[in-house]
């Protein structure tokens, strides 16, 4: 609850800031968002038409910013305003040799430290472009989940350095997402396969995307993944397959070199279609203009074979870096759309000498793993390794004067917990205090469950209300309650330990809760009555004391009036009605006003007697 100093209330939203945590694969070519729904990670529709793949392409137009497939499709009309593959520039400086090699974009003049692209009449950084992609994913996820999305786990390549990771985090923040954690892409894939459930092992993650190849060696120890080695080729991917196939088509149809762009484009599109179809089919019909042929799997494998084999070198090097050979691995995971190609699977099987894990969609596996991690971090997962906090089923409290319960720890508090409250003495010269620990929701001790009773003795004799006794309740993680009462001036203390939930079944807890609701009205009335009685007794006690100690101050008629009021109060105290009791207290109060004033004057005179005025003025007394 929030409040203003003005005493006005603002509505708090218990769901605010929670939302659902998502996992995001911010890829070079495509990006995805996933969430755990009903205990299972699922990719959410991210682009128009419901595709989970959002092309990582951002187009800056005067009127709006386009992200995804629509941006990619209109890239040809606006080549300079359309930015793709910006992931390659994350955290890189403009001076970076690789930046210059990769760039086909126009640069903004700058200090040379930060890359800025000129697009749509503005200068944007890779972080800002990535933020647009993340924003689009966030929006899509909110639409799909009908729920706010504010927290995400975002994946990064294992080889990303601090600057690249920081840039990714900045992009998240810019998009209005709290980045719970940056997760290494290979680790995310391993999480999606549930490999973290084993106690230990070593795994290779083979990630062949559209334009990049990464291989990572992961070691699992005590539930934590560590990246042992990484390798790859930042200019190797499925697009190279398409180009090789298209080139083969062009040669076969006798196209001139260089071939006209329209023909190159047509054969690239057909190459891609043929490649994808051959994942399922053994043979496919290819048509480019008047040219037609049948392409079989064997021929496809011959065309792309040399490219697939280029992935072998980084794999062997990564294994060597990790000090392992292929036979000592516990598993190989396939990531990236290009690992659907049968020739790739076969090559991986030969390279690592085992059947790779590939039954989770290789395009989605990283995002799915990120969603699993996000769910765990947000504490929503039903997994054993998530620490579940216990709560107190019923409130714990103390008996105070009049048999009223003072709740010290309210029900549903998560344990461990503790609370301390100060109590004081009720009567002058009181040297002992009974501490009665009770459990329950009712207002009166008699309706709650008694847990323990003990007596703190040795309180120094003082006027009522001056002694200070701190009563501390402490409930540990096992639900064990320890109550300690400590007198502040002397430090004497007494304590007791109890197990509050001991012997209470769920039904009993439920009944105690319902009772407290059923009797709410009556309970509150009884509580108010009990408190009024305590107050009345205190006032009567003080009045009798005054009549005894300061009888000489009484005016002739005064004693009779006060005694009459005391008598009326005694009658009201025997009744069970709060109203007459309060009236009687008020009458007694009124009858003693004059006496109280004179008593006060006398007390001051006594206090001042024997002192010089200067002592008080000097503030030294």
């Amino acid at each position: 609850m929030t409040s203003l100093a003005s005493g006005l209330l603002q509505i708090a939203d218990p769901k605010a800031g929670k939302g659902r945590p998502v996992g995001i694969d911010l890829g070079t070519t495509n990006s995805l968002v996933a969430a755990v729904i009903d205990g299972r990670p699922r990719c959410l529709p991210a682009d128009e038409g419901g595709s989970p793949l959002l092309p990582s392409v951002v187009q800056y137009r005067e009127e709006a910013i386009r992200v995804g497939r629509r941006a990619r499709e209109s890239a040809a009309e606006r080549p300079h305003d359309t930015l793709a593959s910006v992931k390659r520039f994350m955290g890189k400086s403009a001076d970076d040799a690789e930046t210059k090699r990769l760039s086909t974009y126009r640069w903004a003049a700058g200090d040379g430290r930060v890359v800025r692209f000129l697009a749509g009449g503005r200068a944007v950084t890779p972080v800002e472009v990535s933020a647009e992609i993340l924003r689009a994913l966030k929006r899509a996820a909110e639409g799909a989940l009908s729920q706010r999305v504010e927290k995400a786990v975002v994946t990064v390549p294992a080889y990303f350095d601090d600057a690249q990771r920081q840039a990714t985090k900045d992009a998240g923040r810019l998009a209005g997402l709290e980045v719970l954690r940056l997760l290494n892409e290979p680790t995310a894939a391993a999480l999606a396969y549930g490999l973290d459930k084993g106690s230990q092992g070593t795994f290779a993650v083979y990630d062949l995307g559209g334009g990049t190849f990464d291989v990572s060696i992961l070691a699992l120890e005590g539930g934590l993944f560590q990246v042992r080695a990484t390798g790859g080729d930042s200019a190797l991917g499925g697009d190279d397959f398409d180009r090789a196939i298209a080139l083969a088509f062009l040669r076969e149809l006798g196209a001139p070199d260089p071939a006209p762009p329209a023909l190159v484009h047509a054969s690239l599109v057909e190459a891609r279609r043929a490649k994808e179809a051959l994942t399922e089919a053994a043979e496919v019909e290819v048509r480019i203009g008047g040219f037609a042929k049948r392409l079989g799997r064997a021929e496809l494998d011959r065309i792309i074979g040399p490219i697939v084999e280029r992935t072998g070198v980084p794999c062997r090097r990564a294994l060597a870096d990790a000090g392992l050979d292929a036979s000592s691995l516990d598993g190989v995971i396939l990531v990236g759309g290009s690992t659907r190609v049968p020739a790739v699977r076969r090559y991986v099987r030969e390279l690592f000498g085992r059947e790779p894990l590939g039954d989770i969609d290789p395009d989605q596996v990283v995002a799915l793993g990120a969603a699993v991690q996000a769910d765990l971090l947000a504490g929503a997962g039903p997994r054993d390794d998530v620490l579940l906090l216990d709560v107190l089923p019923l409130s714990l409290g103390l008996e105070t004067m009049g048999g009223v319960v003072e709740k010290i720890i309210p029900r549903n508090s998560t344990i461990p917990t503790s609370a301390t409250q100060l109590f004081t003495t009720f009567a002058d010269g009181q040297t002992g205090m009974d501490v009665h620990v009770v459990q329950g929701e009712r207002e009166l001790v008699s309706d709650c469950r008694s847990l323990a009773k003990f007596r703190l003795s040795g309180i120094p004799p003082l006027p009522a209300g001056l002694a200070r006794v701190a009563v501390a309740f402490q409930v540990d993680a096992d639900g064990l309650l320890e109550v300690t009462a400590r007198e502040q001036s002397t430090g004497i203390e007494q304590s007791v330990a109890v197990k509050p939930s001991h012997g209470l079944s769920d039904e009993e807890v439920e009944r105690m809760l319902l009772d407290s609701l059923d009797h709410a009205d009556e309970d509150v009335r009884r509580r108010l009555l009990a408190e009024a009685k305590v107050e009345a007794e205190r006032v009567a006690f003080a009045a009798r004391g005054a009549l005894r100690d300061d009888a000489d101050l009484l005016e002739p008629s005064e004693r009779g009036r006060i005694e009459g009021a005391l008598e009326a109060l005694a009658v009201a105290l025997r009744g069970d009605d709060e109203g007459p009791l309060q009236l009687a207290v008020a009458a007694l109060d009124a009858s003693t006003q004059g006496l109280a004033q004179r008593r006060m004057d006398r007390a001051i005179q006594r206090a001042l007697a024997g002192h010089r005025v200067e002592e008080f003025e000097g503030g030294k007394a």
Partner: protein, 110 residues
């Protein structure tokens, strides 16, 4: 009169609840009492999408207020209003049972 709300408070509740994505047909404002605050008891004042079976519901012009039976005892006769001043705007609970309220406005004694 058990609990009432002003027209202004009702329209503000509707307006605020429409602005949040979680809002459903059942969404209302939960008003309640719990221990704590600097002066004994404190108000609970938050959106509620799933009323409990034992809650009492108060409705005005599409705005719903849910109060659990226990809190209702302390809120008897209370009127909920929405005030806008030069300094601040917000909801105000006028609770005739309050004997003493604290500086922060969220807690009180009865």
């Amino acid at each position: 009169m058990i609990f009432s709300l002003s027209d202004k408070a009702a329209s503000k509740i509707v307006e605020l609840s429409r602005a949040r994505p979680e809002t459903t047909e059942k969404t209302g404002l939960r008003v309640g009492i719990r221990g704590g605050g600097c002066s004994g008891l404190a108000y609970v004042f938050e959106f509620c999408d799933e009323p409990r079976e034992t809650d009492k519901t108060f409705e005005l012009q599409g705005a719903r207020v849910y109060i659990d039976p226990k809190s209702l005892v302390f809120l008897q006769g209370t009127r909920l209003d929405y005030v806008e001043t030069l300094m601040a705007r917000g909801f105000k609970l006028e609770n005739p049972q309050v004997k003493q309220s604290c500086g922060c406005g969220t807690s009180f004694t009865v």
